[in-house]
Symmetry: C2
Subunit: 442 residues, 2 copies
């Protein structure tokens, strides 16, 4: 998915790069080998005995702790200044001449249960390799380069996500852990204490609002790049999201003795609604997505007309006003369907997250880098949540995707080939170079 | 729902009845009081401590046994000759001059779990009251009158229905009980032995093929009569039925990162199918009914596009060829929907029952009786299964419905008012009179 052989013709009609970049082919080969090796190494922490068990590193568990500690040791070995903050976020710094101007990159090393080796981990490995390469090739930067391994992003152990990035962006206060408990009833605060954090032993989480920039490299977790043959996804924004629960009520009746015209079949009504939701999302057009993931009909017996049906709806769009308008129109449609079937429908909004936009100057810089490197790139929105969505509102933030084979994620089958991994690291290194060494300002 | 005040104008243009019937009003009042009283009495066997527990009389349980024994005692007290057969069907005979010509009526006293007081029981109570009335009013009949309380119809304890009527019609061999077990693992044979049957202590079940006629009175278990203001439903036939299981397969995907046009959403496909099934049944017209009672989407998570969906389908129609054609067309439609959504669908036929028709001369006789009595009647099909569907292929069979309030059945809320109960018994008594005393031949 790279045009390695002809970097000079990245995009027709563009001006030639003003500075000869490091030779792309050699850099790709270097990062391909290093990334594959380091991802193997990191996956040892939390891997099940069999490959199909994947990797499980839940916040504050021994597997998570071992991974963070091993990473700290490895980063220190590269000559980076390593530290934890009081929630367990891990930092590795390469101080710049303007030490307090921080250009940060990072992601997370926690996983879902039986997850893959790339989600989050790739951004950490990429940051480590990019910083090591930049230090080796260019020495001290102008601005400080900082890799951050956020303590938690997935929300897999406790019913809250973004505990790591949320602690540097003001969503969460490290000293006031939300009242959340894991499946065994262990509170977030207790688990944090048990892991040695939350006791003032480490510095308070820094304020990301002071950072000059934050860049996150991540696998796509979708199949758009793979299907379109692009190596790099330049994320324009992260979608806003609303989740709803619907309850459709009609009348349960005997399947044999109730003529079709007498029925108030809640499942038939829900089915019409599901089709209407899909058709509305298609009509609204990309990048609108609307998903009914769960549906239950009651009483749920082969010979009874369902009197009730409940289903979930997940709607995402990168534009807040469009999301609002789409949901509003949809509710009108669903109520009309209910009424025309003699049913009632009630809806509850479960969760709501506003969309965020990535920094425009950073995405432009990424465009230039891809052209210069001859990497086929695509602008896209992230349909999944990432640490970047917390960072974007407080500091200039960019996000880069690499392809996920088959779009598979949160699974042991998650995979990105070494060439694609390397292309992403080249782009990350180039952007960090531009920001930290050349002093470009987002 | 009767035209009690003006029986002489039952139907405009009809000839006046040739014989003055017993005064309808008085007979209705008699049967209304007797039926309400006897149904109360019968409901004591198997009633829960609270009204909302309904009535539970499962085959060969103590509640069932007590009800059958109490019924035997009560029928013997009316001067009827009472006997069991070897599966536990209970008979009460009023021998005619032509003793071996048997005009039978009956239903069942077993119930579903937490069932109502009318389903099955009404036909038994009605038969008992009709025989007692005919004996009292007219003495010995020409043909033998026989009430039969079938041991089992519902299939609620063992996974087979019609054990009682099936044993007199050749479906089941009493001495070779099907290999079925209840929820506690007790076999049908063991339960039958425990209740004192299946050991040759009683006569083998008689062959219903020898009966001159069989008439069943039953609550409608639907709301057609109530909605149309009819007192009597004259059943033309019992629908044939097919039950299917469908499996729709697509691809599970991330709800945020998978554009709508990339999806192979099994639930969306199933929803289109459910709407198409309903629309096909509506287009095919009454009395076609098609019901999707159960649906499951997998993985069933709010933020995952469902990769699989399974649902049940129950189709009923009184005409076998129409049922066959409808199902055939429907399968083509569902496969087309699957293909157009990039899905596959597999179908399995779970059960199949052929439709049966009631005896034409008996339904004509019922028409005449309703006209004579001034009872508003309606021809209809039974969408539910009944003992009559086993009897109809082996002897002339008729079936009569009375209204069910709200169409509710298999529930403690099952209810038919005393006037409607009485109207049905008048019709039953008149038909039994015509067959057994006047010697009419179906």
């Amino acid at each position: 998915m790279t045009n390695e052989g002809k970097p000079e013709v990245a995009a027709a009609g563009e001006p030639a790069p003003t500075k000869e970049p490091p030779e792309t082919g050699a850099l790709l080969r270097r990062f391909a080998a290093e990334a594959a090796h380091m991802l193997d190494w990191l996956a040892q922490f939390g891997s099940g005995a069999n490959a199909d068990e994947g990797v499980t590193r839940l916040l504050y568990t021994p597997a998570w702790q071992q991974a963070q500690d091993a990473l700290a040791e490895r980063l220190a070995g590269c000559g980076l200044a390593v530290s934890y903050d009081d929630v367990g976020n891990l930092y590795a710094r390469l101080d710049g001449a303007r030490e307090r101007e921080v250009v940060a990159t990072g992601s997370h090393i926690d996983t879902v249960v039986r997850g893959g080796r790339y989600d989050g981990a790739y951004g950490i490995v990429a940051g480590a390799l990019a910083l090591a390469y930049l230090k080796e090739a260019y020495g001290q930067p102008e601005r400080t380069l900082q890799l951050v391994s956020f303590a938690e992003e997935e929300g897999s152990r406790f019913p809250l996500a973004f505990w790591g990035s949320g602690s540097v962006t003001g969503r969460y206060q490290a000293r006031h852990a939300p009242d959340a408990a894991d499946a065994d009833g262990v509170s977030l605060a207790a688990a944090m204490h048990e892991a040695g954090f939350g006791q003032g032993r480490y510095a308070a989480p820094p304020a990301a609002a002071d950072w000059s920039a934050f860049v996150e490299l991540h696998i796509e977790q979708g199949s758009v790049l793979e299907r379109e043959g692009a190596a790099i996804g330049i994320v324009q924004g992260i979608v806003g999201q609303r989740r709803f629960g619907f309850e459709v009520s009609g009348e349960a009746n005997h399947a044999g003795t109730t003529p079709m015209s007498y029925r108030r079949d809640a499942l038939c009504g829900a089915a019409e609604m599901i089709v209407a939701i899909r058709d509305a999302a298609l009509a609204y057009g990309d990048p609108t997505v609307a998903t009914v993931g769960r549906l239950e009909a009651s009483p749920g017996t082969v010979n009874v007309v369902p009197g009730r049906a409940s289903f979930t709806l997940d709607v995402r769009h990168p534009d807040g006003a469009a999301l609002e308008a789409f949901c509003g129109e949809l509710m009108t449609t669903l109520e009309r369907i209910a009424a025309s079937n003699g049913l009632t429908v009630s809806v509850s909004l479960w969760t709501e997250a506003a969309p965020v936009r990535m920094n425009g100057r950073l995405t432009e810089a990424l465009d230039r880098i891809c052209r210069t490197r001859g990497l086929v790139c695509r602008h896209m929105y992230s349909g999944a949540g990432h640490d970047s969505q917390l960072l974007a509102p407080v500091c200039p933030t960019a996000m880069v995707f690499v392809p996920s084979r088959g779009g598979i994620s949160h699974s042991p089958a998650e995979y990105t080939n070494a060439e694609d991994l390397a292309a992403g690291i080249v782009v990350l290194a180039d952007l960090l170079y531009a920001l930290a060494y050349k002093g470009e300002t987002p």
